[in-house]
Amino acid sequence: MAGVPQRLRTTWREVPLARHLVLAAIGLVLVAFTLPAVGDFRATQLTELAYIALAAAGLTVLTGLNGQLSLGHGALMAVGAYTTALLLDERDAGPPLVLVVLAAVAATLAVGVVVGVAAARLHGPYLAGATLAMAVAVPGIAVHFRDQLGGEQGLRTYTPEIPGWAADAAYYLTGSDPSRSTYVAFLAWATLLLGLVLLANLARSRTGRRWAAVRDDEVAAELAGIHLGRARVSAFAVSAAAAGAAGAMLAIADRNVAPGAFNLNLSMTLVAVVVLGGLGSLTGAIIGAAVLTLLVSFGPGLGRSLGLDDLASEQVAPLVAGLVTVAVILLAPRGLAGIAQGRLAARRARRAYTSAPSSDGGSPPSSSTPAGSGSAGTSTAVSTPTGKGTP
């Protein structure tokens, strides 16, 4: 009875790293096969989805897991994007792309630590106001330091050529040379999946449990020996790093980094994404990003069919995003992930009730993850980024 399948199942359940890596590998293969087939326009959209999802994943860890709201993640994306643009400012002599992205992440991480130190002492509306100020202030810096950062026009970025082996591999897989958009989309998705694996593992680790403890009860966490400030700053820094990577992808995808791209709308969109997906849920962040990206692509068409002119049609997407945010927070504050998790928990409970009461049934195997056993409160629905896949 025990055998290999049983052991695999146990590993799947109890070793999050293995589970996350397998899922990410599957995702990467799916992306590798899908991207060349969808055409340049869709690839560009998928790129946008990927970097919005990555920044939102960072934000959802910060807000859902650690209880700090940031309205300044658009500004943190700007830090990553400008770092990338400064490093990729020559047509061919740029450093390797991996180093560029790592530098962007490092720069944003550093900014995240500084902001995090200030943010760790604030809560609720104060934190929201301070990060909002950051979102408004940062684009101004780029405008002010015109010579270094390009002012309103921004900086141009040059994407390095597609490396030979990548082109060969793509040709081998699909029978055609990859286009630039496909390559960039693949880069963005690979970064997203890598980021998700790291974030998901961190959320499941001791660090993640510390963050959750600080969120749930400051006093109890402090009594348990957790340094509140350190936990908050580390959460903010990690979250910022994700936003920095997202900004790097934005810079590479758009080939231009200008302050206009990092307006308040971007930060607000990220908040809308994580609220819609469900605060704290990484899966939710991807779904939320997908929904909002779809919205952005359908919005103008919808607006025009309602008889609006082009400029007004552009605003249909943010309008719906705002309405969705308001509706979600009023009707289902735990977002899509919360709704799904509630359904799942209800089904599990039903099944456990109908099957023999003596069997161990589907009760959560939670020897190692006390916080993972869903439905225990409003906010513990956090640590299963791949909830729907488990048997």
């Binding site: 002492r121 929201a128 943010p318």
Partner: protein, 292 residues
């Protein structure tokens, strides 16, 4: 010397508007413990409405009053239908709700009013005042701005201090349970508080927009400045909001005049962070031990 005086004058005018905006935030904070991040968008909507009315041939004053009345209704409706449901809940939900409203109102205004930059005419001279041979950048509209904000503050003070309804509003904000036991209709008072705050917010929108260009995003930075001003004075204190607004206005005016206008928002951020680090309760915190 002249530039110095002009910068200071500009700062004071700007500061009065920030003060009005911060006052509106403080009114809402005191009664419902919510920072209304949608306030700037609400003010923008009423200002755009006023401008549309003026473009249809209304007089400035009729449009002015119409904007304030719309603000009153908008504030009341938003409190009663939306904000009421998150009052007393997790503070994150209220923040996210008002931010969602901010997005909705801004995008909605772009659809309804268009996103062009339009100039907002005012029935005042927009040229400087000449005193003793030198021309100072104090326009008729600037004087009107200062007077309007001062009058509004006086009216609010009178309302809260000397009228029965003001007393009931204060009671509802201070001790909901006790006020309710004593027969105050707390819900109605909160709605009224939001409505009045929205009127003050609309006033600041009209004053910022007047004589310059307005478009659906023109209030975006004012959200930040108003919030910083309110925190500077301590979110709880109306007098602090006024002083905070003035201080911030003058500071930002000098930053804009002598350093660079791109860094104004950054300066506001620095002011905010310094205040929150050094005196989290604001410069005039009467109460101590309030966790920020």
């Amino acid at each position: 010397m002249q530039q110095l005086v002009n910068t200071a004058l500009g700062g004071i005018t700007l500061g009065m508007v920030f003060a009005a905006f911060a006052l509106a935030l403080v009114m809402i904070w005191r009664s419902t413990r919510i920072v209304n991040f949608a306030q700037a968008a609400m003010a923008m909507v009423t200002t755009m409405l006023a401008l549309s009315l003026i473009e249809r041939g209304w007089s400035y004053w009729a449009a002015f009053l119409a904007a304030l009345a719309t603000g009153f209704v908008l504030g009341a409706v938003i409190e009663r239908t939306l904000v009421r449901r998150v009052e007393g809940g997790p503070e994150l939900n209220a923040v996210i709700l008002t931010l969602g409203l901010f997005i909705v109102l801004t995008a909605g205004a772009e659809i309804v009013f268009g996103s062009d930059y339009r100039s907002f005419p005012v029935p005042f001279s927009l040229s400087g005042t000449e005193i003793g041979g030198t021309t100072y950048a104090l326009t008729g509209f600037d004087i009107f701005t200062v007077v309007a904000v001062l009058v509004t503050m006086g009216l609010l003070l009178a309302l809260f201090q000397f009228t029965d309804i003001g007393l009931r509003m204060r009671a509802a904000a201070h001790q909901q349970e006790v006020a309710r036991l004593l027969g105050v209709k707390v819900g109605r008072m909160l709605t009224l508080g939001w409505a009045l705050a929205a009127v003050v917010g609309s006033l600041s929108g009209l004053l910022i927009g007047g004589g310059s260009l307005v478009h659906p995003h023109y209030m975006e930075s004012v959200v930040v400045f108003g919030f910083v001003a309110a925190v500077l004075g301590g979110l709880d204190s109306p007098a602090g909001a006024v002083v905070g607004g003035l201080l911030l206005g003058v500071t930002l005016s000098f930053v804009s005049g002598y350093v660079g206008s791109g860094l104004v928002a950054l300066a506001a951020l620095v002011v905010l962070v310094v205040v929150l680090m050094v005196r989290p309760g604001g410069l005039f915190s009467a109460t101590t031990a309030r966790r920020v």
